[in-house]
């Protein structure tokens, strides 16, 4: 461009390929596909969801703007309150167990033993099987009459009566938590194992010579060095668990008596099941500030851990 200006000749249109040499154009061109995808599949549905929640739309009936009325209604809905509590309880308890068990497994798998590769691959199975299928298997295992769990407990003499796993509100929640932990532990174990393998064994040896006992070596060396990985894994898991749907939908459908609903399953039941699209949208949007807060807090924490 400078050359044409200096030579004083009439400015010719810049060929399209030349235009790409300008970094602003190139950057724009490279960003377009991502922006389109994000806009089409994330921003657009999100905005539509927000608009829907401010409407009174039902299946087949085009609603009108009602402001925050849906949120007000949902706030006073006892099932919604139960599902909020459930979601936090479910996410909190499963995350603690998944982290503890996953870490324990990862430390075991980090040792040398025969058939290590095979066991590591095996560990991933619950993670690989489609959730709906494995959850159906669990549903049968929890069945009060044909349950293999009841049968085993009975044969071992621990129980004399059938336990109604999915029929009792508290037991149903516990059952769901057990299945979620079973399904989530492999992800924690494998990710943490990858994290453990980045920690030089020399550090353990140095700590051993420095006089640290095994527990102290874990607490002062392994755990702080594993923390960034742990935080990322927990972050992913919390987001996924918080918005979980399949597991509860298949196991209990939110029952018995709406006792096991989570945000996602209740939003689905309200919006699709009952046809109150706008109220369903309001329920699922109510999840957003919580998730947003969790993500922000954890990201800030990860940044702090990584820069120290």
């Amino acid at each position: 461009m400078a050359v044409t200006a200096v030579s004083g000749s009439v400015a010719r249109p810049i060929p399209r390929l030349r235009r790409m040499e300008d970094e602003r154009w190139l950057a724009f061109a490279l960003l377009v596909p991502t922006a389109v995808l994000l806009g089409l599949f994330i921003a657009y549905p999100f905005v539509e969801g927000v608009l829907l929640s401010l409407n009174s739309t039902r299946v087949g009936i085009k609603g009108e703007f009602v402001g925050l009325k849906n949120f007000d209604k949902v706030w006073n809905d006892s099932i919604f309150r139960t599902s909020v509590w459930n979601t936090f309880w479910y996410t909190g308890v499963t995350t603690v167990f998944k982290l503890a068990l996953g870490l324990w497994l990862a430390i075991l798998l980090n040792r040398h033993f025969r058939g290590k590769a095979l066991v590591r691959a095996f560990i991933l199975l619950p993670f690989i099987i489609p959730t709906v299928l494995s959850t159906f298997a669990w549903k049968w295992m929890f069945d009060p009459t044909f349950s293999v769990i009841n049968w085993t407990l009975f044969q071992l003499g621990f129980i004399t009566q059938r336990i109604n796993w999915l029929g009792d509100p508290d037991l149903a929640m516990t059952s769901i938590i057990i299945v979620n932990v079973w399904r989530g532990v492999p992800f924690f174990a494998i990710s943490l194992l990858a994290g453990l393998q980045t920690i030089s064994p020399e550090l353990q040896e140095a700590a051993a010579i420095d006089g640290a006992r095994p527990w102290q070596r874990f607490w002062h060396v392994t755990w702080p060095l594993l923390l960034p990985v742990t935080m990322v894994v927990v972050l992913f898991s919390v987001i996924q668990t918080f918005a979980d749907f399949q597991l509860v939908y298949v196991m209990t459908g939110g029952g018995p008596a709406n006792a096991t609903h989570l945000f996602a399953t209740y939003a689905y039941q309200l919006g699709i099941g009952t046809g109150l699209l706008s109220e369903g949208a309001a329920v699922s949007l109510a999840m957003f500030p919580f998730l947003f807060l969790i993500v922000v807090v954890q990201l800030l924490y990860i940044r702090r851990v990584e820069t120290r």
Partner: protein, 364 residues
């Protein structure tokens, strides 16, 4: 008293890899002992067995008067400096050095005093608040040393501590290590594959190969009277020349003969080689013990050589020469003007000749 005794120690991995074979040696109190050898010779494994990081398959290791075979590393009163420093990346320099004392429940003021003291010795007082990744290689090395020093252990163990430093820094740290040892007087075992480090640092040196101790001795002892061909070739740079020769007696004298080479073996070695007439052997002579022949050199120590490569080092000239089907490296006067393919008459220093058995490779 911090003497380390290694008695008939063996290490077998997974039932078939015999890494350390029947090693016995004593490291005296306040001694700086260097284990040297090529990679895989068992020197690091031996050190790790002393540290307690590796179990002992058979034999005994004593530190002071205590058999430590089954003691965990923390109860052996040792400190170790690792090849990759093994500093805790999430702790500051201060806490890296204090960690061992904290684990041993020292009082805070005592920890503070010892860490600052060690930092002063090593010249790293200004780095105490830094994290390891903010340090250069040499500084990390000092911190690793500091972590060992603060503990006031009975024995220091060094596992190739200088091998990750660049050449110039390595020489500098070598000197500092030597000074540090003289100052602290703690018994030390130092593993390296670098024979220069071994020669300069060691009060005594252990040369190992294939898990077997080849020779234990003071540096000059290894240099002057190597026990076998391996030690002779490993110690010294450039390496000792070896030529396959046949021993022949004539005129009441023993001769080492090869194509283009007929060297009269001097009295002392000839006496030890008595009865080997006609046997094969290996003749050894260091490059620095070969010189350009002058009129005073007896002819039975001279040989004709053709220059193949000239390496001008300034302080000396290293010549690669060919003698029949043997090759000899000679280190000669740097003022000589030589050309490739020059034919020279070279002479050996008779007092520095070595002869090794062709089969066992032991010195004759």
């Amino acid at each position: 008293m911090a003497l380390v005794s290694i008695r008939s120690v063996n290490k077998v991995y997974d039932g078939n890899v015999h890494a350390v074979k029947d090693v016995s040696l004593e490291v005296r109190d306040k001694e700086f002992m260097v284990f040297v050898g090529p990679s895989g010779c068992g020197k690091t494994t031996t050190l790790r067995m002393v540290a307690g990081l590796e179990s002992i398959t058979s034999g005994d290791i004593l530190i002071g008067d205590t058999v430590v075979n089954n003691l965990p590393p923390m109860d052996r009163d040792i400190a170790m400096v690792f090849q990759n420093y093994a500093l805790y990346p999430h702790m500051s320099v201060f806490h890296n050095m204090a960690f061992g004392l904290k684990m041993r429940k020292f009082e805070k003021p005592e920890i503070d005093k010892r860490v600052r003291n060690a930092a002063a010795i090593l010249g790293i007082e200004t780095l105490l608040d830094r994290k390891p990744r903010q340090l250069s290689g040499g500084q990390r090395q000092r911190v690793a040393l500091g972590r060992a020093i603060v503990r006031h252990p009975q024995v220091f163990l060094f596992d190739e501590p200088l091998s990750n430093l660049d050449a110039k820094l390595r020489v500098q740290m070598r000197v500092e290590l030597k000074k540090l040892h003289e100052r602290l007087g703690t018994t030390a075992i130092y593993v390296t594959h670098d024979q220069v480090e071994a020669m300069t640092l060691g009060d005594r040196v252990v040369v190992m190969k294939d898990g077997i101790v080849q020779q234990v001795g003071e540096p000059l002892e290894l240099y002057n009277t190597p026990a076998n061909k391996f030690v002779a070739g490993f110690i010294g740079s450039p390496a000792m020349n070896f030529a396959d020769v046949t021993l022949a007696e004539s005129d009441g004298k023993l001769w080492a003969e090869a194509q283009g080479l007929r060297i009269g073996i001097p009295g002392e070695i000839a006496r030890r080689a008595n009865g080997r007439n006609g046997a094969h052997a290996t003749l050894g002579i260091r490059p620095e013990d070969i010189h350009l022949a002058g009129p005073t050199d007896p002819t039975d120590l001279c040989f004709d050589a053709e220059v193949e490569v000239i390496e001008q080092l300034g302080s000396e000239i290293v010549l690669d020469t060919r003698v029949g089907n043997s090759a000899f490296v000679a280190s000669v006067d740097p003022t000589l003007r030589l050309k490739v393919h020059d034919r020279l008459k070279l002479a050996m220093n008779p007092a520095r000749l070595h002869l090794f058995d062709a089969g066992s490779e032991a010195a004759i």
